[in-house]
Amino acid sequence: MKVFQVVLFIFLIVCAISVSFSKNLLNSIIIFMSYSLIMSIIWILLESPDLAITEAAVGAGITSILFFVTLKKIHAIVAVEHDEEKAGHHRHDRKGGAK
C-alpha cells in the first residue's frame, strides 16, 4: 500500500509540473482534472472518504466544467471575430487568449 501511495504522489507532482509547461490551455485543464482525481484516490488511502467523495464531485467535476466553459467563452469570441473578418470588416487580428 505504501508503494501505491508513493506512485500516486509521483503522479501528483508530474501532473502539477506538466500543468505549468503545457502550451495548450485545454491540455492543462485536462491534466488538472486528472490531478484532482489522483488527489481523491489519495484521500481514500488517508482514510477520509468524506473528502474523497467531495473532491471527486467538486474538484474534478464542477471546477473543470467551469474552466471548460470559460475556455469556450474565450474561443467563441475569437471565432466570431474570424467570421467578421471573412465578411469584409478588416479587423486587425488580435492575439486571442487561446494560446
Partner: protein
Amino acid sequence: MSRLLSEQEYRKTKAFKVKRWYRGDKDPYIGRVELRPQKPFEEDVNTQKKRIHDEAILQRNIYDIEHNRKLMMFSKFYKVISVLFVFTLIGILLYMVSYLPPVGNAANPDNNEVATKYIEDAMKDTGAVNIVTGMILDYRAFDTLGESNVLFIATCTVLILLRVDSRSKKKEEEENDRLYEPKNDIILQKVAFFLVPMIIIFGIYVILNGHLSPGGGFSGGAIIGSGLILYVNAFGFKKIERFFTQKTYKWICFVALLFYCLAKTYSFYCGAHHLETGIPLGTPGDILSSGLILPLNICVGMVVACTMYAFYAMFRKGGF
C-alpha cells in the same frame, strides 16, 4: 390621520426613510455613490488605426525584448528572483517538515483531547454515525452556515459580473454560445436520458445518508448540480426553464438558508447539545435519526446544487 407628528416632522424620522426606501421611491445611492457603468468595446476607423499603430509600437518597444535592454534585464531579473524565491520557500518548508513528528503516529500532539472528545461523544450527543458529519453540522454548525453563505455570496457576485441585461443582447449571447456546437445530439440525448435520473438519485442518496455514510450536503449537492448541468448540455436551456428558473433558485436558497438559521438558533437557544432540545435523536444507524442533522444536510444540499447549476448557467449565457 391620527398622526401626532406633523407631515414635515414625520418626513425627518427614520421610519419614513425606511418606508421610502422599502417602497423604492428614492434610491439612496443615486447622487451619492459614484456609479459609472463599464464602457463597451467599440471603435470607429480612427481609433482602430490608432490602436493598430499603438500595437505596432507595443510590439516594437515592449515585446521586442532583444532591443530593449532595460526590459530584458528586468524580465530576466524577475524570473531568476522568483525561481530562487520558490526554491528557497520549498527548502525552508521541507526543512520544517523534517522536524515535524512522524505521520501516522497516535502520540502526535495534534491528536489531542478535542479529537478524543469528538470520537467518544459524537454518537451519543448528535446521534450521527458519521463523526465528521456530526462534527460539522452539530458541534461546528456556525462554520457551515458561514460556508453556505459564502457560496450564496459568490453566486451573487458572479451574477453581478456576468449578467446580461438587455433582451436583444441576451438573445445574441445565447446564439453565440451554441454556435459551434451540435444541437440536439442524439447520442448525448439518449445517454443523458438514462444517466441524469441515476446521477440525481445518487446525489439524493448521498445527501439523505449524510449522517450514516461518507458524503453529506456538499458532495451530494455537487453531484445533483452536475446532473443538472448534463441535462442542460443535452436538452438545452429551454427544457430546464420549465422547472428551474431564477425565481426557483432564489426561493430555494432563501428558504434553505432561513431554515438553517432558524434551526441553529433554536438549537443554540436550547444550549447547543447539552440540554434537551426536545428533538428525539432516534437509534443511531436509522435514516430518521440524529435530530436536526438530516434537515440541515438537505438544506445545504439544496443550496449547493442550485449554486453549482447557477454558476454554469451564468457562465454560459449570463443569467438563467
